[in-house]
Amino acid sequence: MIAFVQRVGRVGLSVCTELGRAGFFLSKSVWRKPRSGQKLHLLAHTIFNSGVLSLPIIIVSGLFIGMVVGLQGFNILNKFSVTSELGQMVALSVVRELGPVVTALLFAGRAGSALTAEIGLMKATEQLDAMEMMGVDPLGRIMLPRLLGGFISMPLLTIIFCAVAILGGELIGVKWLGVDGGAFWSNMQSSVDFRLDVINGIIKSAVFGVVITWMAVYQGASSVPTAAGISHATTRTVVYSSLIVLGLDFVLTAMMMGGW
């Protein structure tokens, strides 16, 4: 009995320590004196790695998710013979929920795992220590551009995902199933509010971007510097950030629906 309580206590303490370490890690990397634009090319490199290289998977999955929502929505709405509301259904479900969440899950799998593996390997091959020996701060040189690149890429990817998904829904609904194009767009426009729906979706995606990138970079930096350690860290990044994204999504949605 006591042993069980002790184990619970140990787990709780280690969770708290880990959270505290991760928090200090983030604040130490991000809140530092801004130096002149010499790091901009590093930032461009990380945006390229986590943003531009994620574009194909984001665009393809956005297209297919929009098409599936269009197809499913058409069949349901057809029962009530209100297929003209298809645009509203596709746009609201994509902009509010599917866009931020699916992009975040894909981003965790595509960019988050790559970040963890990259930093973990740098640690395993003692590149980070070598940098410190040369007087270069690895937090500023390696971690900060990667964190910022992820923070910037994620909302941009979400916007592209939403736009492509809505076009995919239009492709199925209007071009294939014969919903009237004017009704599709005008019903969408009258029901989607820019601030309440679009901006809130982008806020969600920005929060997800921060959490995923933070998780990925921290897991990489704190990984055990062995082959098995890196693979564990990569797995943890994807699993933890997917779970956190889904949990946070509920909390954020509840806050936004409740009007803050």
Binding site: A44, F48, V95, L156, I159, I160, A163, D197, V198
Partner: protein
Amino acid sequence: MGQKGLETLVGFFILLAIAGLVMLAFQVSNLTISQGSNTYEVKAQFDNIGDLKVRAPVTVAGVKVGQVANIVLDPKNYRATVFLRLDQSADNIPKDSSASILTAGLLGSNYISLSPGFDTQFLKAGDNISETHSAIILEQMIGQLLFSVNKDKAAAGDSDNADKS
């Protein structure tokens, strides 16, 4: 790939995202950059606004000329004061026009329809539309219908009894 090519690709990425945002803003959510100078506000009082909501369209002959800006309850006479924000392009609506709350389709949302009058003076900002028709509440209508049907039946029954006696 050199630094230049990389930066170009990042630039394309950002431009693509901006294009997506513009599409979401204007094509999907119909964001209108509403300047105060392009619209003017008039108000109308209704006994009952039914299910009318803020941002509901205001139409003349079915053409949208503005939207509902605000709805408040008048504390003195317990009527609903509806503020209508009309486009400046529709500045030639006669002063004696009437406003009625209609429903789009059987289950659709409510909107306000303005029927133009014959006055040569036009509505200006701050004017009050005096002639209004409230929303039709379906339950009340059914209640009245049932009431009148029952009354007819009762009258018919009375006359039958009178014939027999």
